[in-house]
Amino acid sequence: VPSESKRALVIDDNPVDRLVLSGIVKGLGFGTEESEDGQAGLDRIAREPPFDVILVDWNMPRLDGIGFLRGVRASPKGSKVRIIMVTGETELSSLRKALEAGADEYLMKPYNREAIQLKLRMLGLAV
């Protein structure tokens, strides 16, 4: 991964989902790191250089996606990072809750590479 690559963090407790999403984001030119739940994600953000974008699942043990959003938005290192919630929650009330908690974008599972690319482009992050 070239050092000038943008950095992405993928947070999902399902290893297969994490691998798939990570692979797509990597294919779009990002350097990627992975965490297995919201708390692990917060810990990683605290100790690593800043990420350009975080893709986070909703339903996870320990700390879920909403808890993660609130935590990261309250931390000095996470106030500006772009965050996409990637989830199987499809009710608009859920979408609105995620936006209120600090998500910039919301993508419903199942998704494909094109959908990820379009969301990244909306956030000014991919060609």
Binding site: L92, R96, L99, D104, N112, R121
Partner: protein, 272 residues
Amino acid sequence: MGIHPEAMRFLREWVKRRSGILLEGKEVMIESRLTTLCSQVGLVGVEALLEALKTKPDSELATRVLETLTTNETFWFRDHYPFEVFRTAVVPEILEERKAVKRFKLWSAACSMGQEPYSIAMLLKMHFPQLDKWQVTLLATDLAKHVVDKAALGKYDHLEVNRGLPAQYLARFFQDAGDQWQIKPEIRNRIEFRTLNLTEAFVLPADLDVVFIRNVLIYFDVPTKRAILLRALGSLRPGGYLFLGAAESIYGLDLPLLTVNAGKTVYYRKAK
């Protein structure tokens, strides 16, 4: 499998005669869509479908075939940049130019399943609340009736909303509809949907401010392209704005249009 070359030629000519649309190099799309249509209407194969077209050229089935072959999948805020420049440059200019009459008229000429006119209407509502006090006319047309009906319904599945619809827009302008999402009446009611064949003579509201005729001209030959744009320009006011698709241009068409380069996109203005 595969459609016989002669049958393919017949189909292409038939579609061109009916709609003006050229389907050169689209064999895979044609076969895949017609195979799906066959299974929907209970025909055993594409050959049976062609036989039906030849014997009953004006049947409902013929209409279905035409619609199946001329419908495009589409995106919300397609290509992103044209909508950026529409929001940051074009609409502010129109607000200034039309402030005396407070009238704003737009036409989405190949609206497909509705993503383009709804993108425009949502963008106007989100960023230009002052237009609530204006008379805004947004006409959306497409060739195929079933496509226009679907557009007017404004109901989309999960794959469709994932194709470029920003979450803020989904949250604000849609409502849950089972496992789909439907555009709210406040946006739906701002748009007039109609069927229209671009290759036939058509009458539009006069004095249009903006015409979106995107990703449809690529299907026509040069004389047809020029004729369509000339008719559209007949309804566009002097100084009015024209948006084409990212892969389309007016090069070589000799039209009274000025090209405006706007960074990552271009748009056109009718000469005053």
